[in-house]
């Protein structure tokens, strides 16, 4: 698998570290791991950096993950970047809304490294 540039978006720094560790445990070769604590910061990073994968929380201050995905799809260079939502919001309505706004996948917290692997690897291959 080719080396990847990843952006992890979560207002919890501990959760960002856990997601990064889970990606490494899943076997990803992470060239660069960028972190943002809300959607607004994440948009700035997405405009300035080529990304292969984004993992984002939904409930965050300033700009939530759903609005982030919606605006991200308006950035030409990020239109096709896989975005996986990782969130405590497990309702079907949230999943449908996230996917309709352009998310590529959905993982519910709490999650195992295996779940990260199952959802993320196919997106990088595809």
């Amino acid at each position: 698998m080719k080396p990847v540039n990843v952006l992890i978006v979560d207002d919890s720094s501990v959760m960002r570290k856990i997601v990064g560790r889970s990606l490494r445990q899943a076997g990803l070769d992470l060239v660069q791991v960028l972190e943002a604590s809300n959607g607004s910061e994440a948009l700035s990073l997405a405009r300035e950096n080529p990304l292969d994968l984004i993992l984002s929380d939904i409930n965050m201050p300033l700009m939530d993950g759903l609005e982030f995905v919606r605006q991200l799809r308006g950035i030409e260079s990020a239109q096709h970047t896989p975005v996986v939502m990782i969130t405590t919001e497990a309702g079907e309505g949230h999943v449908v809304q996230a996917l309709s706004l352009g998310a590529s996948g959905y993982i519910r917290k709490p999650f195992t490294p295996e779940q990260i692997k199952e959802r993320v690897i196919p997106l990088l291959r595809g």
């Binding site: 207002d11 501990v14 570290k17 405590t88 919001e89 497990a90 917290k109 709490p110 999650f111």
Partner: protein, 188 residues
């Protein structure tokens, strides 16, 4: 008190009735069964299951039953997440600063645990995941409720007071020899 959830076109409504079903047991139904409970919910049990799931999966160490007789427990570290929507109230988590640091160390695998901010962050996130797991377990709540961003409070001189002023459910666990309690306060 029994409780039934019925879905309407734009929202989910909870019907409260005074039918007692035993401690902590309530009844929940869905749109087609309006007013007719289809399943009993033991709020306390669902809260305990949610907490156990989060500790098993994300913390990597299980919660166990507390010893009896229970030793003195004076929590000085608390996190709270509000629930709003078809169910209103809050989920809170209380323990000692020492236990919060242990939880953080487990979550991070021993890395970068020293900072107090890491314990606050981790503890708030654990509470957030317990609240999310809890509402995901109750039919009709996953989409019917929103969670607030977690609030973390620490120090020896505080009292958590819920304006929900309704029903209160609490489960106490032991985590690596330290006590920890999870509470659910529902609006009356």
């Amino acid at each position: 008190m029994d409780q039934a959830i019925t879905a309407e076109p734009e929202r989910v409504r909870i019907h409260l009735s005074a039918r007692a079903a035993g401690p902590g047991a309530q009844a929940v139904g869905k749109a087609a069964d309006a007013q007719q409970p289809v399943a009993r919910i033991d709020w306390r049990e669902e809260l305990a299951k949610a907490a156990s799931e989060v500790f098993d999966v994300m913390v990597g160490a299980p919660l166990t039953a507390p010893p009896e007789p229970r030793p003195p427990f004076i929590p000085d570290f608390a996190a709270m997440v509000g629930i709003a929507g078809s169910l209103c109230g809050s989920v809170s988590l209380r323990t000692t600063a020492d236990c919060a640091r242990s939880i953080t160390a487990k979550m991070l695998g021993g890395d970068e645990v020293g900072a107090a901010e890491a314990a606050q962050d981790a503890f708030g996130e654990v509470c957030n995941m317990i609240a999310g797991s809890f509402k995901g377990r109750i039919s009709g709540l996953a989409d019917g409720c929103a969670l607030s961003v977690p609030t973390v409070i620490f120090g020896r001189d505080f009292t958590l007071f819920s304006l929900a002023r309704g029903e209160h459910y609490e489960v106490t666990f032991e985590f690596e020899g330290k006590l920890l309690s999870v509470s659910l306060d529902l609006q009356g």
